[in-house]
């Protein structure tokens, strides 16, 4: 059995009267890229700060490498953090910033400078050593913060929305670089983000937070394909829930079901009566679920088109289709037209704890 870099047991944090984190149990394996995803105020950053030691839990324990560190100060933990605002020391050069942790550990100067240079090289910032943080762009500061946190080879690296301040293109590039870097150094990464795409593309495993609790933990595929709660279904990917009567009509079973928009095929309703006006699933292909409805809105996305369809059975589904042969004019013609939606039965994923 592989080692657990981090283990949180019954972690709770109360600020005044608000409970920011309630009963969080979590285990992160060695060398894992683990994301904590959730909207702002969901407690994910507070959990991160408790792992780092900046906040003391109201109750519960934090274990690093099997050792209880709940009572230890940040400077006694073998964990480093990359802050959202980078937190570079403005009065130091890039090199001094990166070497700061080594200097505190009393690493000899020559050794210190060599390792700082290596760390800067690993984030492709050679030649910036003598600059000040104020002279760098946002992306470059980000890399300095990474190099500074990695240079002492901590057991765990905590990243608090590190790409939040970057523009989209740079963010996508940094996502790939971060992932590569993590594979290279083999350090456990705990990555806090509110961006579901970021969490899905980068993580080995992830936890979805809401209201201070973990809603679901799993691999990105598990979370996306089989959301455990309506919140997860809505927060990760587009919310597409069939509930109540409409679920009974369409799926044929009671309960709440989640279907991902890209699984749904949009077909023109044929005149041979394959779309019953009663809203019942009308003669779908074997092993498929089908529903008829009226296209309420068409959104052209360039590479794909999003259809919002009001079902005859009640409720609304979103379907996304690749624009393989269609163009913006073609899809616009769909607005207000009758369609038949069809998807494979296995994509009906039952969601528990529905409201």
């Amino acid at each position: 059995m592989e080692g657990k870099a981090i283990r949180l047991r019954g972690l709770r944090k109360v600020f005044g009267r608000t409970e920011a984190v309630s009963d969080v149990d979590l285990a992160v394996s060695d060398g894992e890229f683990f994301s904590m995803l959730g909207p702002s105020g969901s407690g994910k950053t507070t959990v991160l700060r408790m792992i780092a030691g900046f906040e003391t839990p109201t109750s519960g324990t934090v274990e690093l490498d099997g050792q209880d560190v709940t009572a230890l100060a940040p400077f006694e933990r073998d964990v480093h953090t990359v802050f959202q605002d980078y937190a570079l020391f403005p009065h130091m050069t890039v090199e001094q910033n990166v070497a700061y942790g080594l200097k505190i550990r009393k690493v000899p100067k020559a050794d210190r400078l060599r390792r700082a240079a290596e760390a800067l090289e690993s984030v492709r910032l050679e030649g910036f050593a003598k600059r000040r943080p104020a002279q760098l762009s946002g992306g470059q500061r980000q890399r300095v913060a990474l190099a500074r946190a990695l240079v002492t080879r901590p057991r765990v690296l905590l990243l608090d929305e590190p790409l939040g301040a970057l523009d989209l293109k740079l963010r996508e590039q940094m996502q790939i670089e971060l992932k590569e870097l993590q594979r290279e150094v083999g350090i456990t990464f705990v990555y806090v983000t509110h961006d579901q795409d970021e969490a899905l593309t980068m993580s080995d495993r992830m936890a979805v937070f809401d209201n201070g609790r973990i809603e679901q933990t799993g691999t990105p595929a598990e979370i996306y394909e089989r959301p455990a709660t309506p919140f997860v279904a809505g927060f990760v990917g587009t919310s597409n829930l069939l509930t109540g009567e409409s679920a009974e009509h369409v799926v044929g079973k009671a309960g709440t079901f989640s279907v991902r928009p890209e699984k749904i095929r949009v077909l023109k309703e044929t005149s041979d009566g394959t779309g019953g006006a009663d809203g019942a699933a009308a003669a779908p292909e074997p092993g498929h679920t089908a529903a008829t409805g009226t296209v309420a809105e068409v959104v052209y996305l360039g590479d794909a088109t999003r259809f919002l369809v009001d079902l005859d059975a009640g409720g609304r589904l979103t379907a996304v289709q690749q624009n393989l042969e269609t163009s913006s004019e073609d899809v616009a013609a769909y607005r207000g037209s009758r369609v038949r939606l069809q998807w494979h039965e296995r994509h009906n994923f039952p969601v528990t704890g529905a409201t």
Partner: protein, 296 residues
């Protein structure tokens, strides 16, 4: 609606505003003419007069100013031991006041800016500034009473078998520190308030204990604020001559010598007056290197 608007546009005030809008230079010169006149005539003019009169001399019999150019006053200044001593003592007092102010102001500012609950902070700042509302003379004379022989300070210290410092150099430094402390607390408060929490977290995260974070992060980042505050405490102390008259005993500072020479030998007083100006210019040049002036 559109019929009535052009009519409004034709009023004299609007036409003037429009004309000014099209001539930004004229607008700027109107804005600055009054303060510039004041600065040039009253401020630079008096400084120039000071410098010029420093090169005049005084008739030793009549005590009248003789407007003949001569560097004599400056020669006297540099060759007379007493003047050099007093100048050095004045700089020493100003530096001592500045250092004591930093030492006292830092914990106060740290508390008001980072420890106290945010809702109390504005109130605390007001409390710190309140003494500035009281008259300088009242405060200085209050200290005269406190420091008097058998006064409050002696009485407080007597159970410990100690005496107060009495009037003199130490008393001068104490009173000046008391008078100018708010000018040091304020920039430190602002500076400390602006340090992001994450900077302190990052230092601690990278392994630094509290003392190390203070030395390696807080102090260097705060240096411009300290320098800014020191500009006030240093220059105000260097120019002061009233506090030292009230609590300084026999102590003479450069301000006292200037003051006592004004009626006797105005040109010499002027020459003496240039000394603090030069020292403060040198001090500002030194402070500029810390980047403090850009944060004032």
């Amino acid at each position: 609606m559109s019929e009535t608007e052009p009519a409004a546009g034709r009023s004299t005030a609007r036409r003037l505003a429009g004309a000014l809008h099209r001539r930004p230079r004229l607008q700027l010169s109107l804005l600055l003419s009054a303060p510039l006149t004041w600065l040039v005539l009253a401020y630079l003019g008096s400084l120039t007069a000071l410098f010029m009169s420093a090169f005049w001399t005084t008739d030793t019999f009549t005590s009248n100013v003789v407007k003949v150019w001569s560097p004599d006053n400056f020669v006297t200044l540099f060759t007379t031991g007493v003047y050099r001593q007093v100048a050095l003592r004045s700089v020493g007092v100003a530096l001592a006041v500045t250092v004591v102010c930093v030492v006292i102001a830092f914990p106060v500012a740290f508390f008001t800016a980072r420890v106290a609950a945010p809702k109390w902070r504005p109130l605390l700042v007001v409390a710190i500034l309140t003494p500035l509302w009281a008259s300088y003379l009242v405060k200085a004379y209050a200290w005269r009473l406190i420091l008097a022989e058998g006064g409050l300070l002696d009485w407080l210290l007597s159970p410990l078998g100690l005496d107060g410092p009495g009037y003199g150099l130490a008393a001068t430094v104490m009173v000046l520190t008391y008078l100018w402390l708010p000018y040091m607390i304020l920039p430190l408060h602002t500076g400390l308030e602006q340090i992001p929490d994450s900077l302190l977290d990052a230092s601690s995260d990278l392994g630094a204990r509290t003392g190390r974070t203070f030395r390696s992060v807080v102090l260097p980042v705060l240096l411009p604020s300290i320098a800014a505050g020191s500009v006030f405490t240093f220059s105000l102390s260097l120019g002061d001559y009233i506090a030292v008259q009230i609590v300084g005993g026999k102590t003479q500072l450069i301000g006292n010598i200037i003051y006592s020479n004004i009626t006797l030998d105005l040109p010499l007083a002027a020459a003496l007056g240039t000394v603090p100006v030069v020292i403060i210019v040198l001090y500002l040049l030194a402070v500029r290197r810390t980047g403090a002036l850009s944060s004032l």
